[in-house]
Every structure is written in structure tokens, then in C-alpha cells.
């Protein structure tokens, strides 16, 4: 059934059709929702995806293995490091390369910095959608310090292209380590406390988010939600713990889950608080990783022309938006035969469709923001 047929079928008396997006400031990119509303109450909000489709998966088939790494940055521009990591891990599995310990630590450092930056944007923009503009600027300010660090680390502020098959592109030096330590000193607990005072404990935000779009644990698993959205529903599932990769088994950290901080388990406020707590854990991981950083090589011995043997592999990392997986099929040539990207935002769109039923129109904005949708990740 096409979209138009479906809409004509269900449009009843007293219902209005409302078009939200693709150019709407609260939809976090070019996403479109067709809202069927009865007065202020939504019958459903139907997501329409595909406005940002660039065919990255198809481009992979015409690009050499190394040349595809810059493209993976564009899958999720707020957390590009994870896309890099998942892809190179897959190619390394195909080639059977052992990555040097120092490179693994550098990857973890880069990824956790990126996770903090991504969550700052997610929390700030959620507050902004609700009407509080100040927390967004506070988040952006801290993110700017992380951007400065990544600029020194890999030369770019947004599309990092930091990882290579077999390691990373640039080594860290004392200046950068000092900058990371300075950042961590002001971030934990100083900034987190200030941020909590500013917005997390703010009664207006709490009242807007509590008991809105509650996703129970069963529902979250059935929707295929991943990452902070799944953990906010009380499911303790983190790929860093459950399917360990890189050097995460050597680092100590907790996995924060939603406990119904003010209302039910799995409401929008839980998703907000879980992200705040995850930033704290990331800062703790960073502290350990920086102090344990071993000496050694940063790039393994890799042939100049990467030609993996025939085979297929799935590699996944815990990105800021949950499980980010690359399924790579190699046919023994210089280009991959097929690359499939599995992202967290796409499954969150289904959850938005179901959970919007019976909500107020004004709460749709909260629902979208609390799911931390990033448009290019939905469409690739």
C-alpha cells in the first residue's frame, strides 16, 4: 500500500492532517512526519524517511577499502569516530590483522571523547526543543573543547577520518594528553553538576518529560531499540560489556540504566538522565585510558593494497546512538562486494511511530528529541 492510499484510507471525520518537516527545526535534520491529529491528540505520527539518502552503501562497492573510511564519517556526523571504528574493525577481522595495543587505546580515547560530544548535543538540543535555550549553549561550549582536542589529534573537527585499517593515523603527544586531562578536570564533576543544576533538575523539564512516551523493556526489545534508548527502559545491554571489543574489558565502568528517576521506567526523562550518566562513565573511562596508555606502534603492518580473502564479517560497536554495525562481504577484490550499515536511529523511528499514538502534538517534539535521532544515520 502506498503512502497516499494509506492516508486516504484512514483519514476520518474530525481528523486533520498535519505535515511536520522535512524542514522543521525540531525534527533534527530532514525528517518528515505526517501527523494525523484529532484536536490536540495525535492518532499517529507517520515517519517518512529518505530525504537524506545518499547511497553510501552503494558507494562502498566502487571504493577501495581504505577510501571508504572518509565516507563512514558521513553516516553519523555527530559521532563519526564510531562509524570509523566499526568499519575498520570489520576489515581487520576479514584480513586477520592484530591491532597494536597503543592504537586500541587511542581508539577508545577518541571514541569516548566523541561520545561525550554527541551526548552534549543530544541533551542540549532536547532542552532547546522544550524551550530552554541556555543548556544548549553550555553543551556547545564544552563540545568546542572536545573539538579542539580532536583537531589536534586528527586534524579535523567533525569528519575525523582518524582510524586506519590496522591502527590509527596519528599518534598522541603530551600536549594533547594535558588538554584531555584539563578537560576532564573541569568536566567531572564541575560541568556535570552545573548542568544538572541548570536543566536536569529543572521542574519545567521534568514535568514536560515525565511519563511521556514510556517504552517498557519488552517493547524496547521488540522495537529493536539500541544504546541509551534501550538502557533507559531498564535493559542492561551494552556492547562494551556484553560483546567486548577493543580494550574495553581492561577498563572499569558502570552501565547506567533507567530506574524511573521521576516517573515510570523508560519515559523520556529516563532517556535524558541515562545520557547524563553515560557522559560521567565516559569521562571515567577516559581517565583510566589516558593513565594506562601503553607505549608502542600505532599502525600494524598492513599491505599497501588491501585485498581481503573471500568471506563475510559483521562488526559492531556501541556508538552514542547504540549498536552501529557493518556487515562487509568481500569477494577477494580491492573493493567490498557489499557493505550493509545497521544504525540505531532507524529502529528508533519505528518506536516513534507507535509511541506517538495518543500523545499530544507538543509531546511529539519531546519524543523525537529524547530518542536522539540523527537524520543521515536513518537514510545513509
Amino acid at each position: 500500500m502506498t503512502l497516499e492510499e494509506r492516508l486516504n484510507l484512514v483519514k476520518r471525520e474530525n481528523e486533520i492532517l498535519l505535515n511536520m518537516g522535512p524542514q522543521h527545526p525540531s525534527t533534527h535534520g530532514v525528517i518528515r512526519f505526517i501527523v494525523r491529529a484529532d484536536g490536540e491528540i495525535m492518532v499517529e505520527a507517520l515517519p517518512v524517511v529518505g530525504y537524506l539518502h545518499r547511497g553510501i552503501e552503494k558507494l562502498a562497492e566502487q571504493t577501495p577499502y581504505t577510501g571508504f573510511i572518509p565516507y563512514t564519517d558521513r553516516v553519523d556526523y555527530l559521532a563519526a569516530m564510531f562509524a570509523n571504528h566499526a568499519y575498520v574493525m570489520g576489515v581487520e577481522k576479514l584480513l586477520g590483522i592484530e591491532v597494536p595495543k597503543r592504537a586500541e587505546y587511542l581508539r577508545v580515547i577518541a571514541c569516548e571523547l566523541n561520545r561525550i560530544a554527541s551526548h552534549l548535543i543530544a541533551l542540549g538540543s532536547m532542552a532547546m526543543d522544550i524551550g530552554a535555550f541556555t543548556p544548549f549553549l553550555h553543551g556547545i561550549r564544552e563540545r568546542e573543547l572536545i573539538n579542539d582536542i580532536t583537531e589536534m589529534l586528527c586534524g579535523a573537527r567533525l569528519t575525523y577520518n582518524y582510524m586506519r585499517v590496522g591502527g590509527v593515523s596519528k599518534d598522541i603527544d603530551d600536549r594533547i594528553i594535558k588538554k584531555i586531562n584539563d578537560f576532564l578536570d573541569r568536566f567531572l564533576p564541575g560541568f556535570i553538576d552545573e548542568f544538572n543544576r541548570l536543566i536536569t533538575n529543572n521542574e519545567i523539564l521534568v514535568k514536560r518529560c515525565v511519563n511521556i512516551a514510556t517504552v517498557s523493556a519488552d517493547e524496547a526489545i521488540n522495537f529493536g531499540l539500541v544504546g541509551p534508548n534501550l538502557r533507559a527502559s531498564g535493559v542492561k545491554w551494552d556492547l562494551r560489556k556484553n560483546m567486548p571489543y577493543s580494550v574495553y574489558p581492561e577498563l572499569k565502568f558502570e552501565v547506567p540504566v533507567g530506574e524511573g528517576f521521576r516517573g515510570e521506567v523508560g519515559d523520556s526523562y529516563d532517556r535524558f538522565v541515562v545520557r547524563v550518566k553515560e557522559m560521567e562513565e565516559s569521562a571515567r573511562i577516559l581517565k583510566q585510558a589516558v593513565s594506562q596508555l601503553p607505549e608502542g606502534e600505532i599502525l600494524a603492518k598492513v599491505p599497501k593494497r588491501i585485498k581481503p580473502p573471500k568471506g563475510e564479517v559483521y562488526s559492531a560497536v556501541e556508538s552514542a546512538r547504540g549498536e552501529l554495525g557493518y556487515y562487509i562481504i568481500s569477494d577477494g577484490t580491492e573493493n567490498p562486494y557489499r557493505v550493509k550499515i545497521r544504525t540505531g536511529s532507524f529502529s528508533a523511528m519505528k518506536a516513534i511511530h507507535i509511541k506517538s499514538q495518543g500523545c499530544f502534538i507538543a509531546d511529539l517534539v519531546v519524543l523525537i528529541a529524547s530518542m536522539d535521532i540523527v537524520a543521515p544515520e536513518i537514510d545513509r
Binding site: G67, E151, M152, G155, T159, K170, L198, E203
Partner: protein
């Protein structure tokens, strides 16, 4: 909802609003994080960190004509032409800065560090053709790698080339120089 609950809600809201306001107000007394660009900073480069991946430049005197950068580029930004014959000449080295995505894969492939990133980041021009940077004016002999070369050999002449600086001047039609070689060799251009 009882009456005491109602009052407690009001109290909580007022307290949390003033708490947030206190944070905001404290920032009025602290130093700002922003810089008044470009009024208060002479050059944007002062803010740019070492190792920033800006516009690409080529030191043609170091280029060996190996075409490694051209092969590595995922989107075909670089065009190098080398004449064939008894003596090789580099007759064209173009970089389309408008198309470049600054991934830095070409600089890693280069064996002599001839192609590298500058710290230039503001490159808006009124004509997009000006952003195709032509680095060869006269045919250049390829660089012969020195034995036991250190990175210092290649970094010696670090500069921001005139071609990157002059990109805002008037647009001039460019034609790659052709090489006539006495013993009957021909340039790749003439073959096509």
C-alpha cells in the same frame, strides 16, 4: 492531588528556576569562551591547531610523479599527468579544492611529503573555477629520492605556496604545458 502537594509543586518549580538562573548569572561574571572573529583576531590561523587539515598544497620540486595520491583519492580530486619518453616530465598537477573533502589520505600516501595540508581554511571565491589549483606552470622534472632521506629533507621548505595565496585573484584560463622531447617522445596529452 492534595493541597500540600499543590503548594510543594509550586515551591519546587520556583526553586529550580532560580537555581538555573543562578548558574546563568554566574557565567556573566566569568570570562567568555568566544572570540570576536575576525575583529579581535588578526588571522584565523592563530586559532588553528598544528596538524589541521586545510586546503591542499603541492611542492612540485619534491614530487616524484608516482601518482600515488591520485590513486588513493576516493573522489578523484587530484589530476597528475606525467609525459612519457626517455625523460619524464610532470606536465600537470591540479587539485580541485572545491571538491576536496580534506580526508588526508593523499598526504599519507605521498612518499616525499610533496602534497600536504596547509592551515588555510577560508577559501570562498566568486568563481568556482578559481578553486581548481594548478601547480605546474612549466614542465618539471620529477624529484629523485635521496638515499637515507629523513623527514627533515622533505619538510625543509615548508611554505604556503603562492598558488594557494593567489586563489582570489582574477580567473585565468589554464592550459597544461606540453613538452616536446627531441627524440620523438610525446606527451600523454598528444597521444589522446
Amino acid at each position: 492531588m492534595s493541597f500540600t502537594n499543590y503548594l510543594a509543586n509550586i515551591r519546587n518549580s520556583v526553586v529550580s528556576i532560580f537555581e538555573g538562573m543562578a548558574v546563568t548569572f554566574s557565567w556573566m561574571l566569568r570570562r567568555p569562551h568566544t572570540v570576536q572573529y575576525p575583529d579581535k583576531v588578526d588571522k584565523g590561523h592563530e586559532l588553528i591547531k598544528e596538524g589541521f587539515r586545510g586546503i591542499l598544497e603541492v611542492d612540485v620540486s619534491l614530487c616524484t610523479g608516482c601518482l600515488a595520491c591520485q590513486r588513493t583519492c576516493p573522489i578523484g580530486v587530484i589530476l597528475v599527468e606525467v609525459s612519457k619518453g626517455t625523460e619524464r616530465y610532470i606536465t600537470r598537477f591540479d587539485i580541485d579544492a572545491a571538491k576536496c573533502m580534506y580526508c588526508g589520505l593523499c598526504t599519507e600516501a605521498c612518499p616525499t611529503n610533496a602534497i600536504r595540508h596547509t592551515k588555510e581554511f577560508a577559501y570562498s571565491v566568486d568563481d568556482i573555477r578559481k578553486l581548481v589549483l594548478h601547480y605546474i606552470k612549466e614542465p618539471v622534472k620529477p624529484y629523485k629520492p635521496v638515499k637515507d632521506a629523513t623527514p627533515d629533507n622533505f619538510n625543509a621548505g615548508r611554505f604556503v605556496s603562492e598558488i594557494v595565496k593567489n586563489r582570489e585573484k582574477e580567473y585565468v584560463e589554464y592550459e597544461a604545458p606540453s613538452v616536446k622531447i627531441p627524440d620523438g617522445g610525446q606527451t600523454e596529452k598528444e597521444k589522446n
